[in-house]
């Protein structure tokens, strides 16, 4: 079992004819992902590495019976692409694009609330169910199938933590990169909910970082609703207030909200052990599984 994606997921790649879209479509196909179509306005009728391209997501979804998309569309057009995917309607939309204007995301987020779809990202590495399918840019070779769910706001930090787990023979049910932007579709609580409902997931690792209050909300959710044990990690303990640490969402505001300290305390109060280092995260997980 897994969450969000498996070998059956039928995927449209939006922006398949661009450099990134083409390269990662190849990588996804190599991994075994069921990429059934591409969608790029004006490029209908072409093929990219054997995948048929359609002018609209709607046509691609109807012709190929697709239920998910991965979005590599440039930031200026990505908001529109997300509406197109949600309106198709697809069940799952994974937005890789970095740098989408926040107000565009606010509109998309509002539309998302009217649908039953899951949106992952934007500005995220994607979703992978090891051995079955990956939607996004995660390097498949570092993941292994197993019973730990993983949720992370950051791409390479996901890889680091997965590496620590895989090295100890701890595999993953599904890993979800939720993204580092201020407004994202699937947040920690949404992802925790998915893993709580998944009978194969024995433990969940959540990697948060400074900025916002998603981790604090996750802690409240864990206290109230979760039976599956959770292990945490928070990046940005040494980040000074008012400085944006790379991610648009990773900033400790002047009033002191969004600090690593408040997130670590909230998680620990919810009974979630928080590792000081990635190795310690793996230690905690090993204690559980």
């Amino acid at each position: 079992m897994s969450v969000l994606v498996d070998a059956e997921t039928r995927v449209v790649v939006q922006g398949i004819t661009g450099g990134e879209g083409r390269f990662h479509t190849e990588q996804m196909l190599d991994y075994g992902t069921n990429v059934v179509a591409g969608a790029v306005p004006g490029k209908g009728g072409q093929e990219v590495t054997g995948v048929p391209v359609y002018d609209t997501v709607d046509r691609a979804a109807r012709a190929e019976d697709a239920d998910a998309s991965v979005v590599f569309v440039p930031p200026a057009f990505a908001g529109d692409a997300l509406f197109e995917a949600l309106d198709a309607p697809l069940d799952l939309v994974v937005a890789i694009t970095e740098g989408i204007p926040t107000q565009d995301m606010s509109a998309v987020y509002r539309r998302l609330g009217e649908t039953d779809a899951h949106l992952v990202g934007p500005n995220c590495p994607g979703v992978i169910t090891p051995g079955e399918a990956k939607l996004g840019i995660l390097p498949g070779n570092i993941f292994s199938a197993g019973d730990v769910g993983l949720i992370s706001r950051s791409g390479t930090l996901t890889y680091q933590i997965v590496d620590n787990l895989t090295n100890r023979g701890i595999g993953q049910t599904t890993a979800i990169g939720i993204g580092g932007d201020p407004i994202i579709g699937t947040d920690f609580v949404d992802a925790l909910e998915l893993f709580e409902a998944d009978t194969d997931t024995e433990a969940v690792v959540m990697c948060g970082e400074i900025g916002g209050e998603d981790e604090e909300e996750a802690a409240r959710y864990i206290t109230e609703y979760m039976d599956t044990p959770v292990v945490g990690f928070i990046a940005g303990r040494t980040a000074p207030p008012g400085k944006r640490m790379g991610h648009a969402g990773a900033i400790v505001s002047g009033s002191g909200t969004g600090t690593a300290q408040s997130k670590i305390e909230a998680l620990e109060n919810a009974g979630v052990p928080v590792g000081d280092t990635p190795e310690e995260v793996a230690d905690h997980v090993e204690d559980i599984v």
């Binding site: 200026a76 204007p101 509109a107 950051s154 580092g180 407004i183 970082e209 303990r237 040494t238 790379g246």
Partner: protein, 381 residues
């Protein structure tokens, strides 16, 4: 991107929000001439982008030309919280009976904009929010419809704004929201919005921050961006296109991906060292970019040792190794010890390419950080 006060006021005034008459001045003589033209009393205000300018001595009131000269002389050239003041805004001082706060920002938790009004203007609104959240009236706006007129009225009445000016304040809030919406604002604030004895409202300060990701469709605002040469290294990072934040420690840090770089900083601290910077080379960095990153960190005199941590997804270990060899090979002697850890895509190829006469190689992130912290401590000893 943050607009300066004088720029934000131009944008607000163009949209119809009342602002005091004002002139920008770069010299003492210009400031005095501006003050005489406007008429006394005037406020002389340092144009630097830091909060709490007033308390730090960056805003003073002048009652006549002599005072204006003395104040402009004091403020121009002063160092305000690390920023050099090279311009002042000279504007008519407003005789007020009340100071309000109005603002619009994105509530990231809710995923939609929020408009705010408070009668506790003139002070740090974040402190008000922390001590007395009830003192700020908030209206969340549905992005599909924009702010309804009733929402502006509701915020104003809920905040307890005096009835005599309620309509005007609601008007200012509506205009502020429209500006925020049309000009891709991240934060738009007027604090204080002053109320005069004859019930007029006037924006005595102005904050307008633009979403960096939306600058491509706000060309006139993008043009207002001014190089703030507060930190030479941060300016250099802009040139190279790195996400870079300077800190005050001695262990330089280079990595890929914001979360992993933050984690590397945290580990330096955890193992008893002091991080000197945050430097994210981003995804898919080629050799030249890697070599620029090393140049950046070597340029920081505080740095005694460097930890270089790459976990390749779209970044390839062999490219990184070539960049490191290239950068370090150009020195007769490597200026500062460099510890490298490569993992992920093409890490093995990278390890083979790396010139181990020039760098120390470690297998794990934890070991790499500890080694760099040791090196930095040795240099200090």
């Amino acid at each position: 991107m943050k607009l300066h006060e004088y720029q934000a006021k131009e944008v607000f005034a163009d949209a119809g929000i009342p602002t005091p008459s004002a002139r920008l001045a770069g010299t003492v003589d210009e400031a005095v001439a501006a003050a005489e033209e406007i008429g006394f009393p005037v406020a002389v205000k340092a144009q630097v982008q830091v909060g709490g300018r007033g308390k730090a001595g960056g805003i003073e009131i002048a009652g006549d030309a002599e005072e204006a000269r003395a104040i402009a002389d004091d403020i121009l050239g002063m160092d305000l919280k690390g920023y050099h003041v090279d311009r002042v805004l000279v504007e008519a001082a407003v005789d007020f009976v009340d100071e309000l706060y109005v603002g619009v920002t994105m509530d990231r938790g809710e995923g939609r904009p929020v408009a705010m009004v408070s009668t506790r203007g003139g002070v740090n609104i974040e402190e008000v929010a922390a001590e007395d959240p009830e003192a700020i009236a908030r209206e969340h706006v549905d992005p599909a419809f924009g702010m309804h007129p009733y929402q502006a009225r509701k915020a104003v009445y809920d905040a307890g704004v005096d009835r005599a000016v309620a309509r005007d304040v609601a008007g200012v809030l509506t205009t502020l929201y429209e500006l925020w919406d049309e000009r891709d604002g991240s934060d738009a604030e007027i604090n204080p919005l002053m109320v005069t004895a004859d019930d007029e409202v006037i924006a005595a300060d102005a904050v307008f921050n633009v979403d960096d990701d939306a600058l491509f469709r706000q060309p006139d605002l993008a043009e207002m961006e001014e190089e703030t040469a507060d930190d030479e290294l941060e300016a250099k990072a802009n040139e190279y296109g790195f996400d870079y934040v300077r800190l005050d420690g001695d262990v330089g840090i280079i990595g890929n991906g914001a979360g992993l770089v933050m984690t590397t900083l945290d580990l330096v601290d955890y193992y008893g060292g002091d991080p000197a910077n945050f430097l994210d080379v981003g995804g898919g960095a080629k050799a030249e970019r890697i070599s620029n990153a090393l140049d950046m960190v070597f340029s920081d005199d505080n740095v005694d040792a460097v930890v270089f941590n790459i976990f390749g997804g779209i970044t390839r270990g062999d490219e990184v190794a070539r960049g490191i060899n290239e950068a370090l090979g150009s020195f007769d002697e490597v200026p500062k010890p460099v510890v490298v850890r490569l993992a992920g895509t093409n890490a093995a190829e990278g390890m083979e390419i790396l010139n181990t006469d020039l760098v120390t190689v470690e297998e794990t992130l934890e070991d790499a950080v500890q080694r760099a912290v040791e090196y930095a401590a040795e240099v200090k000893a």
